[in-house]
Structure formats: C-alpha cells, structure tokens
Amino acid sequence: MMVAVSEQPIPQPTVQPTAQPIVLDRVSRWYGNVVAVNDISFGVGAGITGLLGPNGAGKSTLLHMLAGLLRPSAGQVLIDGRTAWRDPTIYRRIGLVPEREAVHAFLTGRQFVELAAHLQRLAQPAVAAAAALDTVDLAPAANRPVGTYSKGMRQRIKIAAALVHDPSILLLDEPFNGMDPRQRLHMMDLLRTMAGEGRTILFSSHILEEVERLADGILVIHAGRLAASGDYREIRRLMTDRPHTFRVRSSDDRRLAGAFMAEPAVFGTELSDDRLTIRVSEFSGFTRSVARVARDAGVRLLEVAPTDDSLESVFAYLVSRR
C-alpha cells in the first residue's frame, strides 16, 4: 500500500485507476464557501483500510461520495473503474453501512435484510438473508421488529443488509458504534475473514484502538485534506521531525544510559522507576545500533520497545501539526 505523509500546499499526485477498486482522483467537495473535502487523491486495494479523522474532518463526506450519495464538486470517484456518482450499478459491488441508525422500525430484522436481497434482485432472497443474519449473529432476533433492537443490534442488522449480496467492496461508517466488546470482536473477526477473501473494506472510526487492531492501512483526513495514508507504523517512521521514544530494560540501565548519550542520534535519556527511556532522532538508525552500544558497554539487553509508534501517537501528530 502507498505510504505518504503529505504536506498541505503541495498538490497531490493523480492516482491512476489500476487494480485498486476504490480510487479518488483529486476530489473536492464544498458546500457554499465551506470546503469539506479538499483535493484528495488515493487508492484503496483489497484488505482493511481505516479512515481516521477528527469530527468534521470530512470522513462522512468522503464515504458518501464513495457511495455515490454525494456529487464531488471537483475530481472523480471511481468504484471498480466506474464513476460512483449517478451510477446505481455500482451497488452490485458495494455494501454500505451508513452511520445513521435509521432503519424501517416496523420491519423485522429478517424482513429488513430480505428487502435488501429483493432490491439486489438475488435469486433466493430468503436464503441470502438467512445467511447474512447468521453471519452477524442475529438469527435468534431476526423475527423481532427492528424498532425493538438495541443500538448494537441495529448496527449489525445494517451490516447484514449490506452483506446480503456478498459485495466485493464494503464501506462502513463507524461500524462498531453501540456494539458490546464481544460483538466488536466478532465483527472484527468477520471483517478480517472477508478481507482475507480478497474484499476491499474501508471503514471510518473515531476509536483509534479499533483501527489499530483491525486495519492493514489507514487514511488520515484532517480539515478536508489527506494528511497521510498507508501503514501507520511506516508513517511514524517518516515523521523525522519528531523524536522516537524507546523503553529499554537491561542488566544495567544506568550504564547503558551513559553509553547511549555518546550516540549522535540520541536526544536524551531518562532513568526513572527502573525504566530507561531513550529519545532518538532516527528510528532505524537506533534499532541498528542498540545492540552494538549495549555490547560495547558490557550490558545485557532485556527489552527494547518503541513507546510512541502507536496509532494514537501518529494520529495526534498528524492532526496537531496542521
């Protein structure tokens, strides 16, 4: 997957519609004078991609354009090479789980999913609906009106309806909202399985832990622009203007701290509570030198772990620098 940390004023390169099922090519969307999405280009291939951004960043606008529910003010959105806007045939390939909870409350769960199957013109709507209900673990409640469902159940019934036609692309807007931990784990397993089968899954979430656990790659949207895309650990490596922090345990932390202070890439060391923290300017340089420095100092390394390459750290950096 592409890895990039883009700078705001630099025009983004045009993405060629290749094998990536989802392609945005210099897409902008504005409402009057308000720019919601600003000149964004990216491609998303098979696997799970997390769409991250603060509230108001433009995530839902982006997902709505991908789902053909909003017209781009500029640029084009392609789904499997077809323009998403005004082409209902894309919905044979797409399954959309919108953020809004609204469903027809008077329908039972089964009727709601069967409605989706009928509208997809599936040969056996009842069979397809039953399979989708099983997939999201809602078969026992399938004959209850959706209006009686909990928030998490509504979320799952929307996912069942989105899956009923076995789409190759799944767009999910905050899919884990309202789910309890067990349901989240079940849904994550399901999405991983679907991604393993070659599907393209793009989901937005404001819960970084979910994205970190699930996504193969991320798209970070901030103030309507693409702040970064790719594997977040790779993105972290590219943040060269921000020191990397490592936690080190060794047979002699104090001596090791002194030894590291002689290394040019080391900004500083901190020894507290039997824990040595080292801040360095370059990730890979440090990982290459750490064993040598310890050996030369006659210290045995017990643990070396980066402490700030979490998605939360990357996200905070990307959002705060703008």
């Binding site: 409402y31 919601a36 509230n55 108001g56 960043a57 433009g58 995530k59 839902s60 606008t61 709505h64 789902a67 053909g68 529910l69 909003l70 017209r71 005004r86 209902p88 045939t89 894309i90 919905y91 044979r92 797409i94 959309l96 919108p98 953020e99 809004r100 909870e101 609204a102 469903v103 027809h104 008077f106 329908l107 709601f112 409605l115 989706a116 009928h118 509208l119 997809q120 013109r121 929307k158 309806a161």
Partner: protein, 246 residues
C-alpha cells in the same frame, strides 16, 4: 420484468410505512368528514338534498380534502424516508430511480384514491340519495377524485424529493395556487389539478353538472402531468445528495 420484484418490495414497505402510522388514522378522519356531514343531515330528518350534492362534493372533497390527504401521503411516501435517513437503504441498491418512485406513487396515490372513493360514494349517497341522476354525479366525482389523487400525490411526492420542506411548500401550493390563484386568472386553469378534476367530472357526469375550461382534456392533462412529474421526481432522486452530517 426484472424490476417487478424490487417494485413490489418497495410497494409493500411503503404501504406498511404509510398505514402503520397515526397519520393514517387522521387521514381516515379527514376522509370521513363528508360522510359525517351526510349522516348529520340524514339524522336531522331532512332526507337527501340533491341540490347540495355537487357543491358539497366539489367544495369539500375536490377543493379541500383531496389535496390535503394527497399532500400528507405524497410527502410521506418518499420525502419522510429521505429526511430520516431510511431511504439510504433503498437508494444504495442497483435499481433505476424510477423503480423507487413508481411504486411509491402507486401506493400513496392508491391509498389516497381508495379513501376518497369510499368517502365520495358514501357522502354522495347520503347527500344526494340513490336516484340515477345523483348516482351518476357521485360516480363521476369518485372517478375524477381517484384520478386527481394520483396527480396530486405525484406533485407532492416530487416536492418531497426536491426539498425537505415538501409538506409546507405543498400546503402553500394547495392553498394558494389550487385554492386561490388557479381559476382567478385567465389561463391558469390549464395548470390546475383541481381544474383537471373538474374537467373529468364535467365529462363523466350528466350534462349541466359542472362547467370546465379543460373538459375532457382533463384526462389527458392528468395523465401527462403524472408522467412528467414522475419523470422529474425520478431524475431528482437520481441526483439526490444526502445532507452533510459533519
């Protein structure tokens, strides 16, 4: 043929949405008002009054109740779903937009027509009696009102797609245009559903019942209006954009 199953599914959901709500009870009460009036007149011991039949059916049903019931069902059939977000589950399916609009028009128009046919026939019998002349007038009104139901519903359904204020704008249209302006100015009758309904009545009813500018052309005008407005609503739905949530 491939569109029949999606259309049937949409029709069923639309019917349940419209019938399962309090608005249906209110609409039944509204449609029942002419029947209640006829009953009151009968109970007062005055018997059928054929002279009152035509003005009552026209003033109460054609001019007031028909556009109001059509307004409520027409805007609720699709506009409400667009407003509350449930329409997204239908819009994100590989079906042409007219496949969504037509069954909704059929159900909302059919429901409006069904209520008003019953109301017209019962009120007509109670008010005008069962003499053949009065029955002919009543049937003419019932047929014309049924056709008018679909024209009005098409207009209000299209309004519901075009704007989230479809109910208010539709009410303004019904009161101002259909109620006041159309007919007051020369030529405006040609763009008035009420006048199409009057034209159909004047064609079907015994001579001398009503005079109309459009006459039998009311049938054609109503048909053209339904087709054109349905096409416009389908186009509008094809370019429908969800409102920004962030």
């Amino acid at each position: 043929m491939t569109n029949l199953r999606p259309m049937a599914a949409i029709a069923i959901v639309t019917a349940r949405a419209l019938l399962g709500r309090r608005r249906t009870i209110l609409m039944l009460l509204l449609a029942g008002a002419p029947i209640l009036l006829g009953l009151l007149i009968r109970l007062s011991g005055r018997g059928a009054r054929p002279a009152n039949l035509e003005p009552t059916l026209e003033g109460l049903l054609v001019s007031t109740i028909l556009p109001l019931i059509a307004l409520v069902f027409g805007t609720a059939a699709l506009g409400s779903e667009l407003d509350d977000g449930t329409a997204v589950h239908i819009l994100t399916k590989p079906i042409p937009r007219w496949v969504i609009v037509v069954p909704k028009l059929a159900v909302a128009g059919g429901l409006t027509a069904a209520m008003l046919i019953v109301s017209t026939v019962l009120a007509g019998v109670l008010l005008g009696g069962t003499a053949s002349h009065e029955i002919a007038i009543t049937i003419a009104f019932a047929v014309a009102i049924a056709i008018g139901s679909f024209v009005y519903v098409a207009i209000f359904l299209a309004l519901g797609v075009a704007t989230s204020r479809g109910l208010v704008i539709g009410l303004g249209y019904a009161l101002l245009w259909e109620g006041l302006l159309a007919g007051a100015l020369p030529g405006t009758q040609l763009l008035s559903v009420r006048e199409y309904v009057r034209g159909i009545i004047s064609t079907l009813a015994p001579p001398g019942t009503l005079t109309s500018v459009v006459g039998a052309q009311g049938f054609v005008a109503a048909l053209v209006a339904v087709v054109v407005i349905t096409a416009l609503a389908s186009y509008r739905l094809a370019v429908y954009e969800v409102r920004a949530s962030e």
